[in-house]
Amino acid sequence: MSTAFSSAKFSTQPFLLNPTSAASHESPLLFAKPTSQFLGSTRKLRLSSSSKLNLSRRSGTVVAVSDVVKQKKSKSTPSLLITKEEGLELYEDMVLGRAFEDMCAQMYYRGKMFGFVHLYNGQEAVSTGFIKLLKQQDSVVSTYRDHVHALSKGVPARAVMSELFGKTTGCCRGQGGSMHMFSREHNLLGGFAFIGEGIPVATGAAFTSKYKREVLKEADCDHVTLAFFGDGTCNNGQFFECLNMAALWKLPIVFVVENNLWAIGMSHLRATSDPQIYKKGPAFGMPGIHVDGMDVLKVRQVAKEAIGRARRGEGPTLVECETYRFRGHSLADPDELRDPAEKAHYAARDPITALKKYLIENNLAGEAELKAIDKKIDEVVEDAVEFADDSPVPPRSQLLENVFADPKGFGIGPDGRYRCEDPKFTEGTAHV
């Protein structure tokens, strides 16, 4: 892979696809010709089966996991994509995400959590597929649909649920809420309410990684940052600005687009001149990959390549995951605009069901084992709710504690002392 970076020397030439028609789904090659690393996995998987979809809006060939299984069997080379341990880990993570989000919905309607809550049902394959490949020191930046990213990264379910309940034991002490999940320990850098806002932050985290390696001479620093965001964000300036900067400086970052086709009620096709988002990567000099986001194994394969690329210092990648959210945009969204046929189509491709099928058919796990995991997760989630219920609400004294890292920032009061020394500050009753 060339290290010198300029789009002229870049070995992959973009745009061999018909760039114009949004509805076109004939072309078999759906990503800009990638670097050699990518040729292995996704292409094999895709070309092996015929295009199954009749939905005119979709632009990708979709290959169900079952087709992969058939293909593998027919080749009679039993090379599985995952080991048993990995399979169970992936399964458990996705079930945790699903069960947690379902519980969130319940709790919301029972009045335990408030505000805007955006659930991730249906998209678990993306979170699990990517984040389970990361180390603890790698960073993840998300959007408001961040509960499952937090869980996948390792934030305990208790901490997330408490945060949603607004309790002081939450991962952000109850001060962030559903849309602002942060964890220093697990390097989850948020949780952002405005779309696109987190992408520059992710770029900064990747910049730090490069800085540590090159300026601070921490030679083994190869931390990677993942930025998750949606299709709506891909029309936002910050997205393009960061693609440019990341490619320019070859930052160790992967831009993961969770294209679930809808930005609240705005269909991606109605908002975007060229809806094929992955094509925008090569425009900035990085590979752009399209992958079936309902299939955790495919996502994982692509993620491995992309993360590996970043770790080796070869720069960023743009990965477009075609996925779908089974619920509305948020719990306040009546979800009336989406075509029931579309919803049914994706419901049939539930990533958890697909993985379960794969595990069983490949004798990686049995029904009983998977059911045991289901049960275990149910208990974890229930425990999280109990914990959150029993936790205390933040006391008044917490109000002013985290406004400044250095509380001298509140200034000097009329009496000459720093205002933060005023006991009213520790009580939380002072006026700032």
């Binding site: 309410a193 910050q238 400044f404």
Partner: protein, 408 residues
Amino acid sequence: MAAIFQGVGAAAALSSLPSNSFDSNKSVFSPRRSFSVRKGASFAVVRSDGTVNLNPKGRRTQQLIPNAVATKADSAAASSSSKPGHELLLFEALLEGLEEEMERDPRVCVMGEDVGHYGGSYKVTKGLAKKFGDLRVLDTPIAENSFTGMGIGAAMTGLRPVVEGMNMGFLLLAFNQISNNCGMLHYTSGGQFTIPIVIRGPGGVGRQLGAEHSQRLESYFQSIPGIQMVACSTPYNAKGLMKAAIRSENPVILFEHVLLYNLKERIPDEDYICNLEEAEMVRPGEHVTILTYSRMRYHVMQAAKTLVNKGYDPEVIDIRSLKPFDLYTIGNSVKKTHRVLIVEECMRTGGIGASLTAAITENFNDYLDAPIVCLSSQDVPTPYAGTLEEVTVVQPAQIVTAVEQLCQ
């Protein structure tokens, strides 16, 4: 001539021969000011009339301050010997402060447009890229929102970036990141992430730069919770504030002024910082308190000359800290003079002066003999024409008139 002595603890004393040449106004005003130096345990201010005033209540708070200024090794043992210091221009003072901090801490880095190879559009980062490399002094593409956000992400993950807005007005494009992330992220993360970022750049009304390059953003940013704002006005406080801002764990916005970059002053050789939360006593007086900051300080001092000739004794305070206000210094002054005039370059509506008026009224209403008068720029997009531009900002003549009216 004011001399500053060190109190207990710190070693070096310095005397300064403050000579300011304000080139653009072509006037030199007498340096009848004393200024405080924050070093070690306490400091003394020697007034121009010779009385020494050891700061009384002291900053008892000193124990709170984790980053005591590191003075260089105990040079002048004799507290009364004077160090000559060295003379430089304000932009060089900023550069010096930045360079020293970058040497001191390898995590300090600079990001902005043309800060690297070009050396900064106002030369504040001149030579740094050659010295520290292209990654530590990063030339960014023209994408303020994103590179400010990148600075914030870098700050969250361990670096200490200094983000330059080529002109403060450009930071309007970064408002999203400054407001949502810079200011609020420490809070919404429950204190887990700190954002030790410095955002700086030149602002203010220049010489016929046109409306968009003549903006004063301090009024827009002041409502953002979680940030501190300071404005520098002399080479001394420019270097001091730059260093303090870099060392601070809070996000700090440092406002510089386009017309002040060529001010010359003699500053100390040793390491020093200026406290971010303190105001600066420029000229002690008895009759009226004039609160100002940045470039207006010089208009005020020019007016002060006239006022002194007319028999008035104004007390001039450079508030320096735009958010939070130093209510101690300001309050003491109000309690002494009972009359307040605020002179600022900010817009009339919702500006720093408006907030300051409210703060003083809230806290010191009983001490006021007259309503607070606030002179601000007109609520007008700064015109290009020189004659019109001149009347959008406050001129010394207006200040003189205001004081005369106030003191009747």
